[in-house]
């Protein structure tokens, strides 16, 4: 029945190739002869409690050797399932139809054993989470050699070892020969992902599938890994399928892009077509929903309302129609196929040569470049806070940190613990937040951002350093009363909206909890909850639902509503949007912006996504190993970064703009965060600093022995340009080491 339903929707396109294809016969000249991987009409179904989920619906593409195809989509759009179906890694309970051809050989109906001949040999995969994709009990060398010997059993031990060393060197692991004997836990996340890439390219695969290869990594490490993927592709000449939700990551790498929505490709084309001339409202919305790190002008983001459709039910019309602002009755008349943009309709075969711009929208032709996406999606105006007009120094301080420290002792020994060192998670942090301001802390994982938040939330007398919240100092917080008063001033929004809500509470109970705790009476609570629901843009009659009945974005809105319940002055946001999809993220960011303006809130935000930070913050602090290395007004720090670390961070962020990506110079930092045990004596950053590496030895000495203080620029001219900016570096104007700079010319 399934093939019949898909066929009937396709019947509109009456080309010979299409009909032959429906009949299950490969049409002559249907797939380009030189394609290494061609996928046709791939359909995947799973069973769930709600019924059969049609997770992938008619995906098709051709991959030419040496080319990169980026598959972009939100979670649940079927991109990972597509890759797993190609690799034959789906569970036997899934039903897969269609065709996947590798160099003309059909892969789809092969047995697991027959598939093993191809997997890891002709077609290899890099998974998302490097921490769990290596076996912890075998050495890295063993695992690389295993990949080699499985497919080349005759290879001698010396040969495999030599190849393993070569591979590790290729992916940029220092002293590869010694590292062969290292176990995965001795490697950092980025290094493990390099090893995964080494294993994937061990047998010179024709096709390399990378499923969100950098999502679990920090920006600076992401830049390194993308660089490694690039080299790996150059070395092996493999075709790469890059699956990601981040439009920035693929902008610089991919040749072609396929945008997926609800299990179907909705727009395909070359990178430039998709980014500069999108013709499907969904793609346009996605591009408008991403905040840009390289643009200072504040425009609100494009929110895409609603949630992706449930794939248990066959969409009656265009699957995007319920969320599309341009929807008309015609959109509900059957699901649109991919049409060539600007070309004749229905005439071309279903899947023309790769790179042709196609979009699945009946209004494709009216959506030219001149259409403003902000207008289409009714993006709200940029909200203005009443505090914006008041100079910063005249506003009240809502939070002040003075020299806050958090050191953890590092102990060793089973019976008698001895201290072998100290982890300085937070080391002498001072900053303040004024009314109506959003202050962000950025940095790589392990730099102490989260510890800082926890120190503030703890609010304890015995803390090292002083935390003042709304005039209440932690030094005076002896009794529960002061603490309760402080809890009224300060609330928190968590990173993972699912984990932050008790699954057994209805929304009403979730929101009532803080109010009950403040001793409010029942009718007042009910009134306040209705207010809150409206405030965060949820339907008030949804209060009796459980959190699992909401989408991720709605859950985060509930989390925000809970934080706002007691009318706090300051809200702490711990990566508030990092767990959300791009289109949903935009809505939440707009909401946060609106609330800040309307309620005069202050935010303390921790985030690793610098684009989000730039969009929402007024001031920003960059942290490295427990210290602030640069702090100041967000525009001056982002447009004119002085500390080399800030410069490296900013250059590592991928921008969803292929032109910029191709010509931009990147600072690729060497190595990872140093272990806290051998933290450098002088400047923390000296071990990875691109400026330091280029300095003459005499000046290097200063970096190694003295700790640079956090102060405004020395030269009066620079200080005047950005009076609020402070940084901790001796040589902010020093030249960068050439080895660490990478520029990709146009391919």
């Amino acid at each position: 029945m399934s093939s019949e339903t898909t066929a009937s929707t396709e019947r509109t396109a009456d080309s010979v190739a299409e009909r032959l294809h429906i009949a299950g016969l490969p049409a002559p000249g249907y797939a380009p002869a030189d394609a290494v991987l061609s996928v046709r009409d791939l359909n995947v179904r799973f069973n769930s409690e709600n019924g059969v989920v049609h997770a992938v619906r008619g995906v098709g593409f051709d991959l030419l050797p040496g080319k990169t195809l980026g598959i972009v989509g939100e979670s649940g759009s079927g991109k990972s399932v597509t890759s797993l179906a190609i690799m034959g890694l789906l569970p036997p309970t899934a039903e897969i139809t269609g065709s996947v051809r590798l160099n003309g050989k059909e892969l789809l109906r092969l047995s697991d054993k027959a598939m093993c001949k191809y997997r890891g040999n002709d077609i290899a995969m890099v998974f998302q989470d490097p921490l769990s994709s290596l076996t912890p009990v075998y050495t890295v060398g063993h695992q690389i050699i295993e990949a080699l010997t499985v497919h080349h059993p005759k290879m001698s031990k010396q040969a495999t070892e030599a190849r393993a060393v070569e591979l590790l060197r290729m992916v940029g692991i220092p002293s590869p020969k010694d590292r062969l004997k290292a176990f995965p836990h001795e490697f950092s996340g980025g290094m493990r992902q390099r090893v995964m890439i080494a294993i994937a390219i061990a047998n010179n695969p024709r096709v390399l599938i990378a499923d969100e290869p950098t999502t679990a990594l920090d920006v600076t490490i992401q830049a390194q890994v993308l660089e490694v993927l690039h080299t790996a592709q150059e070395e092996t000449g493999a075709a790469v399928v890059m699956i990601t939700h981040d439009l920035g990551v693929v902008a610089g790498m991919a040749d072609d892009i396929m945008v997926m929505y609800a299990g179907k490709p909705v727009e395909t084309g070359s990178v430039d077509d998709i980014y500069y001339n999108p013709r499907m409202p969904y793609t346009m919305g996605l591009l408008g929903a991403v905040p840009r790190v390289d643009i200072s002008e504040k425009i609100s983001l494009v929110p895409i309302e609603g949630i992706p459709p449930n794939l248990v039910h066959k969409p009656t019309g265009c699957s995007f129609a319920p969320r599309c602002p341009l929807v008309s009755d015609a959109c509900l008349q059957g699901e649109p196929e991919l049409w060539p943009v600007g070309g004749p309709r229905g005439g071309a075969n279903g899947l023309p040569a790769s790179g042709t711009h196609q979009a699945a929208c009946i209004k494709t032709d009216s959506l030219g470049a001149e259409v403003d996406v902000h207008e289409i999606f009714h993006a709200p105006a940029v909200p203005v806070s009443r505090f914006d007009a008041v100079p910063r120094l005249e506003r009240k301080t809502v939070l002040e940190l003075k020299d806050v420290r958090k050191h953890f002792p590092l102990l060793k020994g089973a019976l008698i613990k001895r201290r072998i060192g100290t982890v300085k998670a937070v080391d002498g942090l001072s900053f303040d937040i004024r009314e109506g301001e959003c202050f962000s802390i950025v940095g790589e994982s392990g730099c102490g951002k989260t510890t800082t938040l926890l120190e503030i939330m703890e609010f304890h007398k015995d803390q090292d350093g002083e935390v003042t919240i709304g005039g209440l100092s932690n030094k005076a917080a002896s009794d529960a009363r002061t603490k309760n008063a402080m809890r009224k001033e300060l609330q928190m929004v968590f990173q993972d909206p699912t984990g932050a809500l008790d699954p057994r509470f209805t929304v009403y109970e979730v929101l009532a909890e803080p109010l009950e705790n403040q001793g409010m009476d029942k009718p007042a609570i009910r009134k306040r909850i209705m207010e809150l629901m409206k405030l965060v843009g949820l339907q008030p009659d949804h209060v009796n639902r459980f959190p699992n009945q909401f989408s991720g974005g709605q859950r985060q809105r509930i989390g925000i509503a809970r934080a706002l319940a007691v009318n706090p002055k300051l809200v702490v946001l711990d990566e508030p949007v990092s767990a959300l999809d791009v289109s949903v993220q935009a809505g939440v960011i707009n909401l946060l912006d609106k609330l800040r303006a309307e309620l005069g809130l202050s935010y303390l935000m921790v985030a690793h996504d610098l684009s989000v930070v730039r969009h929402i913050s007024n001031r920003v602090a960059v942290m490295y190993l427990g210290k602030i290395v640069e702090i100041g007004d967000v525009d001056s720090v982002f447009d004119n970064p002085r500390h080399p670390y800030t410069r490296a961070l900013l250059s590592a962020i991928p921008v969803p703009d292929p032109q910029v990506e191709r010509t931009r110079e990147r600072i690729i930092l060497q190595g990872d965060l140093p272990s806290p045990l051998d933290a450098p004596k002088g400047c923390n950053f000296a071990t990875r600093c691109p400026v330091f590496a280029a300095l003459p030895a005499a000046k290097q000495e200063k970096c190694l022995t003295l700790e640079p203080p956090l102060e405004p620029a020395a030269s009066s001219q620079a200080a005047q340009a950005a009076p609020d900016q402070q940084f901790a570096c001796f040589f902010p104007d020093g030249e960068l080491d050439a080895d660490m700079l990478v520029v990709h010319g146009a391919p």
Binding site: S2, T5, N47, E49, V52, A94, Q333, R487, F494, Q495
Partner: protein
């Protein structure tokens, strides 16, 4: 099937409804559905319910009770007068079995439920407070595990507990003693589970809102380990029934004139050859009781375990769905 592209207004309305309510199935509904899919478990549940009903209403179906002696039928095999025969004292075995089953189920349910409840509160409290509180409470728990339950039961129900015995029926005494010794294992399990729950953000959120510790344990921790608790209740019930049978069998549990399945089995062991019905009937009932609980437990585990293969494959149910559609 041919005209798929036309929109059926009813279908649109249905879709809208689905968008609103039906898509997200409540967890309890999923669990029930998965449980019902396991036929063995459903059979187990049916047997258990039937036995429970039997133990309460079975007494009214016979003119005899557990105390009336029938002087004309002493030690008689099953007959029309006495469905399951009589004991060597001339008491109707059917009446005895009904009474014994009720006591056994009562003991099982009370001990199973109460011990899990105690374990949940004790374990959650330990996990929530941690540190010194955790250490002291863990010590008490370990000490109880070390104590030989058998001896305490023997002392309490026979020699030592005379005062108690006068005031309480022997089955209540046994329940109390069994309770004291049955919750420790579960409590340790719950402690470790709650410790991992403590790391979840919603507990942190409650702490940052200034919710008192007592409320967090009761409102956030206990309900969230509910699925484990349900599993542990059925396991606890089985354990309690078996313990009662074992104690009564060796003569330190339920005391005559109270009867239980264990007492019946224990009394009959010496005369298996002469009065076989006296031995086999209560034994079969006991097997049905514990066996049905074990069958149920298996299904419950399937229902609660999200990774179990209870969903089935896409292929199979699609054909079922097709069949349904075609039949419409």
């Amino acid at each position: 099937m041919t005209n798929l592209n036309a929109i059926d207004p009813a279908a649109v309305a249905e879709e809208a409804k689905i968008e609103n309510d039906d898509v997200v199935i409540a967890k309890s509904a999923i669990i029930l559905r998965r449980f019902l899919r396991n036929k063995t478990a459903v059979a187990g549940l049916a047997i258990f319910l039937a036995l429970t009903v039997f133990s309460f209403v079975g007494g009214y179906l016979t003119p005899w009770d557990k105390e009336t002696i029938d002087p004309f039928n002493i030690g008689m095999p099953p007959s029309a007068d006495h469905l399951l025969g009589t004991s060597q004292a001339g008491i109707d075995l059917y009446a005895l079995t009904v009474e014994g089953t009720r006591i056994s189920i009562l003991i099982g349910l009370v001990v199973g439920l109460a011990s899990v409840l105690i374990a949940a509160i004790y374990g959650c409290t330990m996990a929530y407070f941690g540190g010194k509180v955790d250490k002291v409470m863990l010590f008490i728990l370990e000490a109880l595990i070390m104590m030989p339950a058998l001896l305490v039961v023997a002392v309490a129900t026979s020699g030592g507990g005379n005062g108690l015995q006068e005031n309480l029926p022997s089955w209540l005494l046994l329940i109390i003693v069994l309770l004291v010794f049955s919750w420790m294992g579960t409590a340790r399990l719950i402690r470790s589970l709650s410790m991992s729950l403590m790391q979840r953000d919603f507990v942190k959120a409650a702490q940052y809102m200034g919710i008192p510790a007592r409320r967090i344990v009761w409102r956030h921790l206990v309900p969230n380990i509910g699925s484990l608790l349900v599993l542990d209740i059925t396991r606890g019930v089985t354990g309690a029934i078996l313990a009662e049978v074992a104690f009564s069998f060796i003569g330190i549990g339920i005391k005559v004139p109270d009867v239980s399945l264990g007492v019946l089995i224990g009394q009959a062991t010496s005369q298996v050859a002469t009065f076989p019905w006296m031995f086999w009937v209560p034994l079969v009932v006991m097997f049905l009781l514990t066996g049905s609980l074990a069958m149920m437990n298996d299904g419950l585990r399937d229902a609660f375990d999200p990774s179990s293969g209870s969903i089935g494959s896409a292929n199979r149910s699609k054909t079922q769905k097709t069949a349904k559609k075609n039949s419409k």
